[in-house]
């Protein structure tokens, strides 16, 4: 099967500091990949490079399109839903308006049934439709961000540290939904995580970044057995 997303020797820098160093990996259609690594390893920058939010060199292809030079909104329109770090919730808009923005690039017709699908995953959102999204709790905001991303009907869902600052129970709920979406709807997922345990359990593949380079990659099962990965990221 052809790769849905492919990065070839992607490098990026912030001023004199090199954030990514020839990063290459690919993600198959319907597969799941976790990007692991410590703070500052370049995980977030990798996602931002894919969405063309940072200056970079190298080649990125998505679903057969070269997207290295497309604007972020064009990449979103191709079917990449990117939930950024901090979730990208528009706090002064209502929950409902945030959700409607998920379907912004689509025709309205199918919105109602899609919304019901989102409420099925996250019933709590339906209770808070008219509320400013900024007043939601952290977990609810993450659910809103995820629900909104699903309304984009993406082919690839990219999540940047969905577990950050959330209670373990909420994290489990969110990863549960991710796993279900992948199994039932074949949604490809690329997730950046610091919590390697939960990420390796959900994703079929993983890629470990260290100071801007890919140091290990492969199926999650193998990485879990890998001595260095275990010691550095799993803590046992």
């Amino acid at each position: 099967m052809a790769a849905l997303l492919e990065l070839e020797q992607v490098s990026a820098r912030y001023g004199p500091i090199r954030a990514l160093h020839d990063v290459s990996f690919s993600l198959e259609e319907g597969s799941t990949l976790a990007l692991l690594g410590a703070n500052g390893a370049g995980k977030t920058t990798t996602l931002r490079a894919i969405s063309n939010l940072v200056r970079k060199t190298g080649e990125i292809t998505f679903a057969g399109n070269r997207i290295s030079h497309r604007p972020a909104e064009g990449i979103a329109r191709l079917g990449v839903a990117h939930v950024p770090q901090g979730r990208g919730i528009l706090g002064e808009l209502t929950v409902e308006e945030n959700l409607r923005l998920g379907a912004y690039t689509r025709r309205e017709r199918s919105l109602v049934s899609d919304l019901e699908g989102v409420y099925a995953h996250f019933p709590r959102l339906e209770e808070r439709l008219g509320q400013p999204a900024g007043t939601l709790s952290g977990g609810e905001q993450q659910m809103l961000a995820l629900g909104r991303a699903l309304l984009q009907r993406p082919r690839l869902l990219m999540l940047d540290e969905p577990s950050l600052g959330l209670a373990p129970l909420v994290v489990r709920e969110i990863f549960g939904v991710l796993g279900r979406l992948n199994r039932e709807e074949g949604l490809a997922v690329l997730v950046v995580e610091q919590d390697a345990t939960v990420a390796l359990r959900t994703c079929a593949y993983a890629c470990v970044l260290e100071v801007g380079r890919v140091v290990v990659s492969g199926p999650s099962d193998e990485l879990r057995e890998d001595e260095s990965v275990r010691r550095a990221y799993l803590g046992y």
Binding site: E73, P84, G88, L90, E92, L101, Y104, E108, L136, S137
Partner: protein, 305 residues
Amino acid sequence: MVLLAASWSDVAQQVVSGLATGSIYASLALGIVIIYRSTGVINFAQGEMATFSTFIAWWLIEDPNGPEWPFWGAFVVTLVVSFAGGVLVERVLIRPVEGAPVLTIVMITLGLAIALNGLVSWIWGAETRSFPGAFSTRPVHVVSVTFSIQDAGFVAILLAAVACLYVFFRYTKTGLGLRAAAAGREASRLLGVRVGWMLALGWGIAAMLGALSGIMTAPTAFLDPNMMQGVLLYAFAAAVLGGLDSPIGAVVGGLVLGVLLNLLGTYVPHWFGGQMRLVGGLLVIFTVLLVRPQGLFGRVAVRRV
């Protein structure tokens, strides 16, 4: 106390004509607020853009070398041209400095103001002209208050503009996109919102609102290249009073300011009458910034951490 000596009908009279002047301030202030919300920049060219639009209207209606159209036809065309002009300004002047420090962009709007002022004089000459009013200045008596049809017309124009904007921002997809772009640029882009065009659209709308206020100003004063400079100051005062990031605030601020300055000018003429009216406007800006910097309706961030 002077105020006590005034009859109620006198006061009501001043309030009504204050609302009419306030409508002029409000529409210009609304333009300022729309640009401020989406770009975080105060557009100092807002007044001169409005003057330019008003001259276009004058050319379409009055200029013997122009097409001499009827007022309302020219009105609509002026709005359309102003919208296009606003979009063009954003694309050509503001877009290239996207991401530059706020001061850079402010300087560009100041330069634009000076350039447009010169351009108006260059194209149409600097002399003062009379501008036709859309509404008759015939007085109407309602109960004990007398006002002109023009006064009522101005308030009606403002309310119509506000209603259109409300429907646009609240109930259309593009309106939602515009609000999203103002609320969070990057997050909106990741949702597929073409943020660059949304900003241009905001400039277009602001230019249209400026045209409205210019077309309302010209018949009450005279049309000349510096016509909107005073009005711009009142519009700033109105926007600051309402809270710079609140559209409702701009409208309420404009109306309140119009009424306030009218009352002050009438009952405390020594301090605020005639030319001293501008001082009242500056005083409002100063007081609001000192006492309540977020204005009447300004945002106090709603956030739960």
